[in-house]
């Protein structure tokens, strides 16, 4: 070993001036991500611009800058307030339902047995279904002529249950679809959260003979709160912008009972070709989600740190 052959004793490559390439490397690698960012920001700022214009696609000569008139006109527009209230109601009802149901199921499945794990895997399936297709599935099931659900509620006396076609039950129907699709999401998150909780407090409580309700409300729930908050905000953010389910089901109808933000905006754009109003509506929605998402990101980062260690 001491008689070293010259080839192996030298460096594999001659040293050179690498400082520039070294510095540039991260920027080069992230170039495509940057392009995508720009690809998002340009339309975004364009939308902001359009929202402050009078702009209808079928009347291009009337195009003009009107500052905040679109927004101001919303204040006195019944349709706008309808949109806000329906969107908020939809968001809160779905998230509350999904939270309660998801938490309940997570508690049922918390012990990591083979059966429980198999069940939680099966429960992923609705989440993996395209929401637009899920809406179609439920549309078929709620068909007044042959839908199994129509038949079933008929057995309970609701003979002419019109589901999504009826203004009084349309919201219920789409909420049902939403809950069906998205409850597993909350369930998965809370289940992972529950399973990651430290065991000692529970063992101590068991030793002390503490009643189960106390354990749940005073130990489990507080420790699970970060996950609950993160999951709820996540879903709230998505729910308030729901499009796929509602559009596939009723395109916002019957009438305007389901005119949530994005559906309304879509119709403004494609049916009424009113680019200005449609953009303004979206900006209002964006403002709401932006505020919420900042809140969400804060909580999400905290959870992430807990899982991965400090970023």
């Amino acid at each position: 070993m001491t008689t070293a052959t010259p080839q192996t004793a030298t460096a594999p490559r001659r040293p050179g001036r690498h400082r520039l390439t070294r510095r540039a490397l991260p920027y080069l690698l992230s170039l495509p991500a940057l392009l995508v960012c720009i690809g998002i920001l340009i339309p975004f700022f364009t939308a902001v611009y359009y929202s402050m214009m009078r702009y209808r696609l079928n009347l291009p000569m009337m195009k003009g800058f009107i500052w905040f008139d679109n927004y101001i006109s919303f204040l006195s527009d019944g349709a706008f307030w309808n949109t806000i209230s329906i969107s908020l109601i939809y968001a809160f009802v779905t998230v509350t339902g999904e939270l309660l149901l998801g938490l309940g199921i997570a508690l049922l499945l918390v012990r990591p047995t083979r059966l429980n794990n198999a069940v939680s895997i099966m429960l992923l399936l609705p989440l993996m279904t395209a929401p637009a297709l899920a809406a179609l599935m439920w549309k078929l099931m709620t068909n007044p002529n042959f839908g199994i659900l129509s038949y079933l509620v008929g057995l309970f006396g609701f003979t002419d249950f019109r589901w999504a076609s009826d203004p009084s039950t349309a919201l219920l129907t789409v909420v049902l679809v939403d809950v069906w699709v998205y409850t597993p999401f909350i369930m998965i998150l809370l289940l992972a959260g529950l399973r990651s909780l430290p065991k000692q407090p529970f063992e101590a409580a068991a030793l002390d003979g503490v009643p189960r309700s106390f354990v749940f409300f005073r130990i489990t729930l507080p420790m699970l709160m970060p996950y609950i908050i993160t999951a709820s905000l996540f879903r709230l953010l998505d729910s308030i912008q729901q499009f796929d389910i509602i559009y596939s089901m009723t395109q916002g109808g019957p009438g305007d009972t389901l005119m949530v933000f994005q559906v309304q905006s879509y119709l403004e754009f494609f049916q009424y070709t009113n680019v200005g109003r449609s953009a303004a509506l979206l900006i209002v929605l964006w403002a709401i989600t932006y505020a919420l998402s900042n809140l969400f990101i804060k909580h999400w980062l905290k959870l992430r740190e807990r899982a991965h260690g400090p970023a």
């Binding site: 594999p12 490559r13 490397l25 991260p26 920027y27 690698l29 992230s30 495509p32 991500a33 940057l34 995508v36 998002i40 339309p43 975004f44 364009t46 939308a47 049922l108 012990r111 895997i121 099966m122 429960l123 399936l125 993996m128 279904t129 395209a130 929401p131 637009a132 297709l133 179609l136 599935m137 549309k139 078929l140 099931m141 042959f146 038949y151 069906w180 409850t183 998965i188 998150l189 992972a192 068991a206 996950y227 912008q241 499009f243 796929d244 559009y247 994005q262 905006s265 879509y266 680019v275 900006i283 964006w286 998402s293 969400f296 990101i297 999400w300 959870l303 992430r304 899982a307 991965h308």
Partner: protein, 285 residues
């Protein structure tokens, strides 16, 4: 939690069964419907027992449908093909672009990287139409409307952020010393990236890719706005199908079954990674 009474076990079992029924029944029912002809579907009361038929699937596969009103051409298989093409290409592109970028974000702390990551994260929750509606106007000018390239490019808006968040975490979990040791041994950074970073992050890359595929496949609104009938994926195509064929419920059911099966199978195959992917790394599965 040692003493679980039998009563509790029974209650638990019943509840779980109810939950399973609620969440799996629709899929099961549509599956049943897809094997029924119209008469069987319209029969009241609906029955679990019937003689199955493959005519719905045949009609979809062959693209022709014989009805009492005449023959109908169904282009549903094309929608399926579109979905496959769009999802696969989008994911492959986003992996090619996103994995190196995720590496850059993980290994180098640079201001631009933090800004990009933050922008992509905050726009994850922005209304899609906010970007899509102006984009549809741009596309008209750029003649990108109704092109696969345009759609694949737009689908990056969905896939790329996902890849970045998930894969970045996996790269960060690799000890930098391992890469340093490889470089000191005499290998350049590209070889280190290929032979050390990527293999060690493979679970994350697989998870991100699968999840991106599922999200791309399930996407509805992008294609609704930017694609025409010829290029629409199944999500939009199915809706059009329903409106067009009206009374062919069995075929609609079959179409839905064909549309959801790929993602459901993928989900079952990749379920290990789903928890972490879905929560964007907030929880480890």
């Amino acid at each position: 939690m040692n003493q679980i009474s039998t009563f509790e076990k029974i209650v638990r079992g019943v509840l779980i069964a109810l939950v399973l029924v609620f969440f799996l029944f629709p899929i099961f029912w549509i599956l049943l419907m897809s094997f029924q002809n119209n008469d069987q579907i319209l029969r009241i009361p609906p029955s679990l027992f019937f003689e199955p038929t493959l005519q719905n699937y045949l009609a979809l596969l062959t693209g022709r449908l014989e009805t009492t009103a005449g023959n109908l051409d169904i282009a549903f298989m094309r929608n399926l093909g579109n979905s496959l093409l769009l999802s696969t290409c989008s994911v492959l592109l986003s992996l090619a672009l996103g994995v190196p970028a995720a590496y850059a974000f993980a290994r180098y702390k640079f201001r631009l990287g933090e800004n990009i990551a933050f922008t992509l994260l905050s726009f994850r929750f922005a209304p899609p139409l906010l970007v899509l509606l102006p984009l549809s106007l741009f596309f008209k000018q750029l003649h990108l409307t109704d092109t696969y390239i345009g759609l694949i490019w737009v689908y990056q808006l969905i896939c790329l952020p996902l890849i970045l968040w998930i894969v970045r975490g996996y790269f960060e979990d690799i000890s930098p010393d391992i890469e340093h040791a490889y470089r000191i041994s005499g290998h350049g950074w590209w070889k280190t990236f290929r032979k050390i970073a990527i293999p060690l992050a493979r679970p994350g890359i697989a998870a991100a890719g699968l999840l991106a595929f599922i999200f791309a496949w399930n996407n509805f609104v992008f294609a609704l706005i930017l694609a025409s009938a010829a290029k629409q994926p199944v999500t939009v195509g199915a809706l059009a199908f329903v409106t067009a064929s009206g009374i062919q419920y069995g075929q609609i059911a079959a179409a839905i079954v064909l549309s959801v099966t790929p993602t459901l199978l993928l989900a079952l195959y990749a379920q290990r990674y789903l928890v972490e992917g879905l929560s964007l790394g907030a929880v480890k599965g």
